[in-house]
């Protein structure tokens, strides 16, 4: 890729051609705060907190959308820039209902981070009271527009990442708010509950309902795993506290799903803790399933397979892989059938 050279805050910097100033700065270790920008939704330029000064261009420029050009001189820390950023965060804190003390997002909230980086403890503007009703009509998502910062990330994700086309930014000016369909309650809308919007939301405006009150963000241990539901192999993080799954999020920078999950992967984890789950192998004896150890079960299966092979030949055996398991598991299944059992009869459950 062609490289270009520019100057950021007096330091020589390199960037890939076509990169934004924001990326160029980050690549070169220069921090620029962002709120509406997300690598996956890209489209941004709304919150204006990433403003910088570019020599030769009027006004402040948004670094998330302006392309870096060869020879550019960029300033990211002038007084005007810092004051503008402070104004923006203070306006947010004054216009929404932000009380971080018991907020679910506290600890991983991008607005909170921005305030922290700018050294703002509170807004110097008066707080304009906001008391919008919280929409908890969805079985899985709480939508609290009192904490929305109008970043458009959820709207962009819903329309252009998962393409469910449910969310839109409705109304204008200070009334601007995220609406479902024609301003229906989320639970009555065409929302398919994939939770993409929740994952993209930088604040607590969109939240996992089941996780509410179950633990602070810093108490949760993130466990990386592969979704067990289908063969796509979506990468996800289980957020675990005291051996209990509190919520599930998609891994942002990993193939194949890059953060996106479906309703099952994201919200369908209750079975993990179900007392009805099988916890040991069962072997049918005299018409009844009886608990067995893994050694017993494996020996039993091997014995039976060998018996069938001996009396009826390998063609009497078929291996059926699981459509919901990983490629690796299915590969092993295939290998086992061909190499160990000696048959080409391998298929998977979705076809049989």
């Amino acid at each position: 890729m062609k490289k270009i050279a520019l100057n950021i805050d007096g330091k020589d910097a390199q960037a890939a051609e076509g990169d934004t100033i924001l990326n160029a700065a980050r690549e070169n270790g220069i921090y620029i705060p962002t709120l509406c920008y997300h690598p996956r939704t890209k489209q941004a330029g709304k919150c204006r907190i990433c403003v910088v000064e570019v020599k030769g261009l009027p006004d402040l420029q948004v670094s998330c959308s302006l392309q870096a050009r060869d020879g550019m001189t960029v300033n990211t820390t002038s007084e005007r820039i810092i004051e503008t950023r402070k104004m923006i965060v203070e306006l947010y804190l004054s216009s929404g209902r932000h009380n971080c003390i018991s907020c679910e997002a506290s600890g991983e909230c991008e607005l909170q981070d921005a305030a922290y980086h700018l050294g703002l403890e509170k807004s110097n503007f008066p707080v304009i009271p906001k008391d919008l009703p919280v929409d908890s009509s969805s079985p899985m998502i709480i939508k609290d527009m009192n904490k929305c910062i109008q970043c458009f990330r959820c709207v962009e994700g819903c329309n252009n990442v998962v393409v469910n086309e449910v969310l839109e930014m409705g109304f204008r000016g200070g009334d601007m708010t995220v609406v479902c369909d024609t301003n229906k309650p989320m639970g009555k809308s065409s929302c398919v509950i994939c939770g993409e919007c929740v994952q993209l939301c930088p604040t607590a405006a969109l939240l996992e309902k089941k996780a509410a009150g179950k633990g602070r963000t810093w108490e949760l241990k993130k466990v990386r795993t592969t979704c067990p539901y289908c063969g796509v192999g979506c990468q996800m993080h289980l957020h675990v506290k005291d051996n209990e799954i509190i919520k599930v999020t998609g891994v942002e920078d990993a193939a194949p799903n890059f953060g996106t999950l479906c309703i099952k992967g994201r919200f369908g984890y209750d079975f993990v803790h179900s007392p009805e789950r099988l916890r040991s192998p069962l072997i049918k004896r005299d018409g009844e399933f009886v608990e067995a150890s893994w050694e017993e079960a494996l020996d039993f299966t091997a014995e039976k397979l060998l018996e069938i092979k001996k009396t009826h030949g390998t063609e009497a055996i078929v291996g059926i892989g699981c459509a919901r398991t990983t490629n690796e598991n299915n590969y092993i299944m295939m290998k086992f059938m061909r190499a160990a059992v000696g048959t080409n009869n391998v298929d998977h459950c979705a076809r049989t």
């Binding site: 204006r48 306006l91 930014m169 000016g173 200070g174």
Partner: protein, 412 residues
């Protein structure tokens, strides 16, 4: 005095095509079609015509920004949104001399190679939209618009599109979004309309008054236009004078006419013999002037040099009984109401300014409130997606700075 935009304004039934033709109408179009498009572009450039929509960008240069590839789709848009408070010039052209605009659009379309034009008209002007449609049909019937205009081989169609009542839809990219059927929210720039405009195609957009100057320039030649007015502000301008004057109305004067002359000669002075207190010179978003500043000449540069702007040329005159804080309150309310809400400094900033001014007017404000408003004005300007932010910040900033005493008297 030379009239360009109002040459037919006193003629009865000027709006009919027959009257327009009998006054020499569409002669400019005939002349234009006999010239190569490049020639027309250079004529307009030489005339020094600058946009009448507010920013004063030179029209000829805007046309030259278009990609040179003549096979591309190019759209021409006429901005007839006229949302700026205190502004009522375009509606008169469209209502009383619609063919002037239609002729101007058709010549411009031929010059830039556009085959499809839109007139985006403010929703409240619905009767004018109807008049425009009838005038377009008349023009199509006689071959001035539509397929193969005057047998020249050039075709150009015009659609009238009504807005739905939003000030920001006058901003060129919000306007394009609106025509496309989307919410009226300005786009990030770059890319600019010359390369990515309506439906993603190259687009030229002009105010009604800008396009209506084009027939004169083509017919009489660029010098006839550039010799009127001031060196960098050529031609005439429609000044809409409202407020506390004896004869509110629309007046066509050369660019650079002193504001004093417009108020006292054209508009007959301040009503009831009252003293003049302040003037908003170019629509609500232009910073207010005190009575001491009205010797300024009404052209782009002179107003800029005293920290204001020519804007739309809508002059709002206020007499000694006017309370500037009340004007500021109305101004703040307007901008908070009209912000599209897309970017934070504007959405939350205009809302906060309104909240603070309301509090001051209610007698509950403090000195810090005034400081906070000034702080907002300072940092909103230049940090927003579109120029709305600056349009909201600049006038309020000027009102407080120039009439600070009145605000101080209200705070504790």
């Amino acid at each position: 005095m030379q009239k360009i935009l109002f040459k037919n304004i006193d003629v009865p039934d000027a709006r009919s095509l027959d009257t327009y033709k009998s006054r020499g109408g569409y002669a400019a179009l005939k002349k234009a079609l006999s010239l190569p498009p490049e020639k027309l572009i250079s004529m307009v450039e030489e005339s020094g015509l600058r946009g009448r929509g507010g920013a004063g960008f030179p029209a000829g240069i805007k046309w030259k920004f278009l990609p040179k590839d003549r096979n591309r789709t190019i759209y021409l848009i006429c901005n007839a949104d006229e949302g700026e408070p205190g502004t009522f010039k375009d509606r008169h052209i469209m209502e009383f001399d619609p063919h002037l605009l239609i002729e101007g659009m058709t010549i411009t379309a031929y010059a830039i190679g556009a085959h499809h034009g839109f007139i985006y008209i403010r929703g409240e002007y619905n009767w004018i939209a109807k008049l425009l449609m009838s005038a377009i049909i008349e023009a199509v019937t006689e071959g001035f618009v539509g397929y193969n205009i005057l047998n020249s081989g050039f075709s150009f169609y015009i659609d009238v599109f009504r807005g739905a009542g939003s000030y920001v839809c006058g901003e060129e990219t919000a306007l394009m979004e609106s025509i496309e059927g989307k919410a009226g929210r300005p786009r990030l720039k770059p890319p600019f309309p010359a390369t990515f405009g309506l439906y993603g195609e190259s687009t030229v957009i002009h105010n009604v008054s800008t396009l209506s100057c084009v027939p004169f320039i083509i017919e009489k030649g660029p010098e006839a236009f550039s010799k009127i007015g001031k060196p960098r502000s050529h031609g005439t301008k429609l000044f809409g004078i409202s407020g506390h004057v004896n004869k509110p109305g629309l007046y066509e004067y050369p660019m650079g006419t002193p504001l004093r002359k417009l108020i006292y000669e054209a508009a007959g002075g301040v009503r009831g013999g009252k003293r003049l207190k302040a003037v908003i010179p170019g629509g609500l978003s232009s910073p207010i002037l005190t009575a001491d500043e009205i010797d300024v000449e009404m052209d782009f540069d002179s107003l800029l040099s005293i920290g204001s702007m020519l804007g739309s040329g809508g002059i709002i005159v206020m007499d000694e009984d006017t309370s500037i804080p009340m004007i500021a309150q109305k101004t703040a309310k307007f901008f908070a109401h009209e912000s599209c809400g897309q970017c934070t400094p504007c959405r939350e900033g205009t809302n906060m300014i309104k909240f603070l001014i309301d509090r001051i007017i209610a007698g509950k404000g403090g000195h810090t409130d005034l400081e906070q408003i000034l702080r907002l004005c300072r940092y909103i300007k230049g940090s927003t997606i579109c120029a709305f932010g600056a349009a909201a910040a600049m006038p309020l900033n000027a009102m407080i700075k120039k009439f600070r005493g009145e605000f101080e008297a209200l705070v504790r």
